[in-house]
């Protein structure tokens, strides 16, 4: 790929200059060719990649595409590859990089849209349907009556796994996902573990086996642990995959 051009911002405050190189490609335009573009800008105190990219977009290059929503690390929109590692851009501070050089690539394994923007919503919805990511119960709830009591530790354990934000970083860190398009990944397996320990869910191990008891499910994982290493919510993904695998072997 060629390096298209370099755009430079004027330095007035005496802060250091950083270089952000971004992958540029419009997948919607069949005639477009992929290329890198470098932007030189002034690093302001506390700068994150969110602040940096918004600055580039609003002052240097109005055509640059990327996805931010909450800019606070809770919505999972802005996953991208930062100097070779999948991360949430909004939670990445530019001063982490000593040489001030940062290269940004779109998150792999998802359908590319343009530049740093990828389509995660449709894949995640399909995954949620595939693992039937909802409570299965025959019990009918009377919503005017006192709720079913749950042990505080049980609720806390479910919450700890429910913190997943579907950012897709576990998939971008996963070797199986690169080989198997339909692998549900740590996000899907963590989700089944979440429902498996939820006292409201009546599914048996055999029923979970129907959903994830194959190579696109729990037996696809090669335990390389890329998912857990990169998870921005620090979820215990490997332990939970192992937990589901033990259950599935018995089922």
């Amino acid at each position: 790929m060629i390096n298209k051009s370099t755009q430079v911002e004027e330095n007035t405050e005496g802060y250091r200059e950083i270089e952000i190189t971004v992958f540029r490609y419009n997948s919607q335009n069949k005639n477009d060719t992929p290329e890198y573009q470098t932007y030189k800008l002034i690093e302001t105190p506390g700068m994150t990649l969110y602040i940096a990219l918004i600055k580039i977009w609003s002052t240097m290059d109005h055509h640059l595409s990327f996805d931010f929503v909450c800019r606070a690390g809770i919505c999972g929109s802005c996953s991208m590859v930062v100097n070779g590692k999948p991360r949430l851009a909004c939670k990445t501070r530019t001063n982490e990089f000593e040489d001030g050089k940062i290269t940004l690539l779109p998150l792999p394994t998802f359908k590319h849209i343009k530049d740093l923007s990828v389509d995660t919503g449709n894949w995640m919805n399909a995954m949620s349907k595939k693992v039937e990511s909802w409570i299965h119960t025959k019990e009918k709830t009377d919503i005017a009556a006192i709720e079913k009591p749950i042990e505080p530790e049980d609720a806390q354990a479910v919450f700890d796994l429910d913190r997943c934000i579907e950012c897709g970083i576990c998939l971008a860190s996963c070797s199986t996902k690169i080989m198997r398009e339909d692998f549900v990944g740590a996000v899907g397996l963590n989700r089944t573990a979440r429902f498996a320990i939820d006292p409201h869910d009546e599914r048996t191990d055999a029923e979970f086996y129907e959903l994830i008891g194959d190579d696109n499910g729990v037996f696809g994982c090669m335990s390389l642990m890329g998912c857990e290493d990169h998870c921005p919510k620090e979820l215990p993904l490997q332990t939970k995959i192992a937990y589901m695998r033990r259950k599935m072997v018995k089922a």
């Binding site: 506390g46 800019r71 990511s133 009591p149 609720a155 479910v158």
Partner: protein
Amino acid sequence: MKIIYTDALIVGGGLAGLRSAIAARDKGLDTIVISMVPVKRSHSAAAQGGMQASLGNTIKGEGDNEDIHFADTVKGSDWGCDQDVARMFVTTAPKAIRELAAWGVPWNRIGKGPREVIINGQKETIVEKDEAHGLINARDFGGTKKWRTCYTSDATGHTMLYAVANEALKRDVEIHDKKEAISIIHESGICSGVIARDLISGELIAYVARGTMIATGGYGRIYKQSTNAIICKGIGIAIALETGIVQLGNMEAVQFHPTPIVPSGILLTEGCRGDGGVLRDKDGYRFMPDYEPEKKELASRDVVSRRMIEHIRKGKGVKSPYGDHLWLDISILGREHIEKNLHDVQDISKTFNGIDPADEGEKGWMPVLPMQHYSMGGIRVKPTGETPTLKGLFCSGEAACWDLHGFNRLGGNSVSEAVVAGMIVGEYFAEYCANTHLNTNTFTIEKFLEAQREYLQEILSYDGGRNIFDIKDRMRTIMQEKVGVFRNGKDLNDAVNELEDLLKMVKEITVTDKSLCNNPELNEAYRVTKMLKLALCVAKGALDRTESRGAHFREDYTKRDDINWLKRTIATWVNPNDTMPTLSYEALDISKMEMPPAFRGYGKKGAIVLNPLSKKREEEIVKIKETLGSVDRFTMQEALMDYDLPKDYKRKNERVGVGYD
């Protein structure tokens, strides 16, 4: 021409939209949700501290019920809310939370026996009842008489949104993300869908439906400093305004949250103060008890935000390169509590400020300053959620002026409103869709689609050389500086004039990339135009409202004036070429209120011009009570102000220790 037909169309995939979609699917309706972003990324996910519902499980919530939640909400609103709607809401909220529990939201649960809590800066031990063991817990929040805010750590909106989104997927609600509604299709006073833009291909799509709901959230991003996600631009509200028919209510009612972190503006939940955190000034002094002896840090948000700015104006702020700020101290809660119940707050503070709030003493204090947080105003709707002027157009959640919050929303009432409105308005909406036949034709649809095609081309043809990003920045700065926590006539007048100039200036921009597809600069050009119209509604509404009520505070009219201003501001945009909204007013009727206007119990005393009708209604209420004698609270309530709810939502709610009483 691409046309997609459905029975029920919902614009916006947050809690209100998705819960409404479930109501529609449960009636067997073909249902589509269109959303700018994947639905689980909606701003509902950002709600941290919790959801109010009067379960009364915890010992600190004992005795809580609908009546107390109602009174807190009405006082919080500074009597600006619609009391019918507040009653509908408080009666349904316990049902909403129990439905969500059954759908798997892992609400924090009560463990019986003693536990240590921080109240008023002091450690105290409370003892939870045996019969409450395992039931849904609650924390304290501002402006509430009881501990009523139920939570999942400080990620409450996230767990709620995921549960509701998954239930929608289970029911095969069709979700079309990366689609943005840019105009409403309507003819002869009937709405029949929207024109949407595919944000990937740029294609214009007509979504045609029996009924349409807007659930696109608030308009916080018209301000420079806001806790809102960057998608909260109010586009759904703006396209309703642009029909020329739909009315917006109380747009000037904008909430400023006391404790976003400086400088990023990311929210630190009210749960920080609810759980016992305190505010400190540059001397480390806890100043709130001096201003608000009773509620201290837990007065309503409008009051705490004003007290903070007041204190900074006395020179007590902490100097920083980003201006003066104050400190939020939660270190006194202890590391264990913070890591379990304020996990995201700790993560945010560590990531964005390098401060671990669990560190003891000064080291753990987090810099905070009031910033825009919530839009009380929005599309004016009836209690059923339908707009009174355009049949078949419904609205719910933050985008609506239903009007649950009046001039100030209580913390914990927003996600609660979103799901509750999704249930109530969703049900009325579903009924409407089930009983209505589509009444439009391809000629009308094509006319609206063609108008948008021409409009986008028109934007690309502008050639004045101005930059849309500069216009946006100026708008956000004006709103920040002149339409903020403290307002006055001169600044507001300047703001209105300057915003009007900016709106005219949009025709002088040049969009450098002429592509209709995947062009973020073009997106900005039409969005900023819409945002400017909303900003004008806010600023003009604030200028003309010569009183102070809830979050709207006028330094030149410091009193709440119930004689002249107990009314809702209504804004319309009569002609497409207008550069100013047309304002009118809708009076609130004291003679029908269950709770006539009075002092809120917090905030400045003696700052109200009471309406004599308040006293008259109070006397009436005393008489009604005397006549009825000793009846249960439900019979009494019905006699004071009857209200309707769909389905069986009006049923009594069971509570531990009191049953259905």
